[in-house]
């Protein structure tokens, strides 16, 4: 410290003891010590408690047979499977809800955000009212409310027949599905190839435009490749198409696919709630692009579509993406509220495991770790995207 040195009467040792470096070391040592002590204290206590009461510890229970079924699943699963597999079923359900929620909330939120800044008074006001109402009521209340409402739908025998083969009951939404066929993989392959070709085309077009000022036509050729390739494969294979149509048999519908009321209530709640926040983000993003930008673009003779795509969006996205990431993360984490209405997500399924094995510490720790991994992956992905659209140079 300069003052200490200036005093001159202090020995180097005293000067060192009074220096900021020394104090910093002491503080850090103290903090690290406290944290280490707390961790040690907590873990020895837990270990003592568990040993004294003869409670089982460790993760070996994951290999044991779980013995319970899960109502909704994306992979084959039965009560004979292990806890690890059962928890995986729950994790897949969490991911399903999250992906569905993110897509729907983004669509609805963007629509509402654009409506909010629209020059149409009615749509602006309605959008504002929506945002205020849904943003200011608790999400859990909304989910419980939707669930209570869905339960009031008629039971299967009096199902509402919305479209041929689509039924709405208090067991959920039941709709036909296409019977899976080996060709589907090839069609998917064709789709991916089509997308890849279109990306190449867009690149070519941009290079061409930068060089010559003339762009290649992009939209129609890409649309044609993306839809055409899978279609061609399908036709070449002889157009296999079987629908699994639900039919009332016994207590429930057989065939088709169920979207359970728990799922519908959860996704509806998440989407209506999060989309209100996304709407605000989109609005602030659009408003952040100054009027001058649009006017300048217009005076350059750009068409409205081009203005939106080439001028407004790239600038708005820079404002939108970071807070949007936050909302996506919120949605994934909030999907854990599923436990209250009984959608078998990660938390819900793990809870049963806690109860049967009694190993709460291990399972809650595992749950946190899984969510942490999901959160970090989303953050990394969105950061990468954000860098891709950020100002260069």
């Amino acid at each position: 410290m300069p003052q200490a040195a200036a005093r001159g009467d202090a020995s180097p040792v005293v000067a060192f003891l009074e220096s900021q470096t020394f104090r910093a070391i002491v503080y850090q040592f103290f903090t690290a010590g406290t944290v280490a002590f707390l961790l040690w204290y907590v873990s020895t206590n837990a270990a003592d408690n568990l040993v004294r009461q003869g409670i089982a510890t460790g993760f070996s229970f994951l290999q044991q047979e779980a013995g319970y079924d899960v109502g909704e699943k994306w992979i084959e699963h039965s009560a004979r499977d292990s806890y690890a597999q059962t928890i995986l079923v729950g994790l897949l359900n969490t991911l399903y809800v999250s992906v569905l929620g993110v897509i729907l909330a983004t669509l609805l939120g963007t629509l509402l955000g654009i409506a909010r800044v629209s020059r149409n008074w009615l749509s602006a006001k309605l959008s504002a009212a929506y945002v205020e109402v849904f943003r200011n009521t608790p999400l859990l209340l909304q989910i419980i409310f939707w669930y209570a409402l869905l339960r009031q739908l008629p039971p299967p025998r009096q199902a509402l027949d919305l479209l041929p083969g689509v039924f709405l009951t208090n067991r959920g939404l039941i709709h036909p599905t296409i019977v899976s066929d080996p060709i589907h993989l090839w069609i998917l392959g064709g789709l991916i190839l089509g997308v890849a070709l279109s990306v190449l085309l867009v690149r070519r077009s941009r290079l061409r435009r930068e060089k010559t000022g003339k762009a290649l036509p992009v939209f129609w050729p890409s649309a044609a490749t993306i839809t055409g390739l899978p279609l061609l494969i399908w036709i070449a294979w002889g157009m296999p198409f079987t629908l699994d149509v639900p039919a009332l048999r016994g207590f429930n519908f057989t065939g088709g696919t169920y979207q359970s009321p728990e799922l519908v209530a959860l996704v509806t709640g998440l989407v209506t709630y999060i989309s209100a926040f996304i709407a605000e983000i989109v609005r602030s993003g659009i408003e952040s692009v100054g009027h001058g930008q649009r006017e300048a673009a217009r005076s350059l003779g750009l068409r409205e579509g081009h203005i939106l795509r080439l001028v407004v969006l790239p600038q708005a996205l820079r404002v939108i993406v970071p807070p949007l990431t936050g909302q996506y993360l919120n949605l994934v984490k909030d999907s854990s509220l599923a436990v209250y209405i009984g959608y078998p997500d990660l938390v819900s399924v793990s809870n049963t495991a806690v109860n049967q094995t009694g190993q709460a510490v291990e399972i809650i720790f595992l749950m946190m770790l899984v969510y942490l991994t999901i959160s970090l992956s989303i953050s990394l992905l969105m950061n990468w995207y954000n860098r891709a659209i950020a100002l260069r140079g």
Binding site: T31, N49, L50, W121, L126, L139, A148, L337, I364, S375
Partner: protein, 372 residues
């Protein structure tokens, strides 16, 4: 050079435009704001149509055909509209949960005191230490005394019996009061020059922000007692409030960090040159400015904490939402949960909306001094 310029620049003055209208006529306003083009017209017609289909039946149900008061549910079953009578019928359970019936005046009084206290401290004239300090020591003391009892002839009521809106209030306030210091320390820690403290703060903030509140509540409510030596009792409600405070604090820390980063370096240097130490600098110069910059963000998370207080029902506390659920599980009134939940939604909405309006007000008020 002269020729192209002549093509763009006009030689003479442009024709005068009509003056902008001070007040549009209704027709003109509608043309401007509802029917300005074919797209706008289409949107207006579509939305207007939906409103026409939805709003009149909703009003019919909620207001005209509604039953406002009934001794039992038979009047509701006869009516076509909403059964608001469920609220006067069940209000004691909804508002106070499991709290002993004869003692309900205590949480009711506590709630009134609390709201009065909030209203007083929200009013900028009272922002003096001589008013706020006594208020904010006396108020929580009075509220907790009323709720807990055990003195002045009031029977003791354990926190496991607390419920309803007063419990929501205690959880919300506890979360903010305990969470803000956590947030400030973590935010400062994350900006500290000392690597150990910085790493620990980052780890804590990112870990808590990466997991759902539900898992934190499980930890606090279910497994935390396992981490303590036997015979060491902790109150479940207190544990849950602490868990929520940590969750709140970690989000708030990031908001405050944003404020800290926005403070110009000159401020730090000026404080250093005045000879202020770290804490003096932080307390007198840095934090007041940082917090003022981030008021909207801070208020957002405070509103979130208010809404998140409903999550305690997952670990079995009888807050306002849970008590309402219990009230409408009475078979006689079980069909009128819509009305009960709508009422609860209204209460939460009013709370959250009031907070967000207040945040706007505060933001404007506090930025006045900066617009010189």
């Amino acid at each position: 050079m002269a020729t192209p310029a002549a093509a763009i620049v006009k030689a003479g003055p442009m024709a005068e435009l009509p003056p902008p209208l001070q007040r549009l006529s209704i027709a003109a306003w509608m043309r401007e704001n509802l029917f300005s083009g074919w797209r706008s017209t289409l949107v207006t017609l579509l939305l207007g149509g939906i409103l026409l289909i939805v709003v009149p039946p909703a009003i019919q149900w909620a207001l005209i055909d509604a039953v406002w008061y009934a001794a039992d549910s038979s009047a509701c079953r006869a009516a076509a509209g909403a059964c608001w009578a469920v609220i006067p019928e069940k209000h004691r359970v909804m508002f106070f949960g499991l709290y002993p019936y004869e003692e309900h005046w205590r949480p009711a009084l506590a709630l009134l005191l609390y709201i009065a206290g909030l209203a007083i401290s929200g009013w900028s004239r009272t922002w003096r230490m001589s008013i706020l300090l006594p208020l904010w020591t006396a108020l929580p003391a009075a509220v907790l005394t009323l709720m807990l009892g055990g003195v002045f002839g009031m029977p003791y009521v354990d926190t496991s019996q607390w419920g309803g809106l007063p419990l929501t209030m205690v959880i919300f306030t506890g979360t903010i009061v305990l969470g803000m210091p956590v947030a400030m320390l973590l935010a400062l820690g994350r900006r500290a020059r000392m690597p150990v403290i910085r790493v620990l703060s980052v780890f804590m903030i990112e870990f808590v922000r990466g997991v759902p509140l539900v898992t934190i509540l499980f930890t606090a409510a279910v497994i935390f007692p396992l981490f303590l030596p036997p015979g060491f009792d902790t109150d479940k409600m207190v544990r849950i409030v602490v868990g929520m405070a940590i969750f709140f604090g970690c989000y708030q820390a990031e908001v405050i960090r944003g404020g800290l980063q926005a403070i110009p370096k000159g401020q730090y240097e000026a404080a250093d040159s005045l000879g202020l130490g770290y804490w003096g600098k932080t307390r007198k110069i840095v934090l007041p400015q940082a917090l003022r910059i981030v008021i909207p963000g801070l208020m957002n998370h405070i509103i979130s904490a208010f809404k998140n207080s409903t999550l305690v029902i997952i670990v079995g506390l009888f807050d306002f939402l849970n008590a309402t659920g219990a009230a409408v599980s009475d078979p006689e009134w079980i069909n009128y949960y819509t009305e009960a939940y709508l009422f609860v939604a209204l209460v939460y909405f009013l709370g959250a909306y009031a907070l967000s309006r207040y945040s706007h007000h505060l933001e404007r008020r506090l930025s006045l001094g900066r617009q010189y």
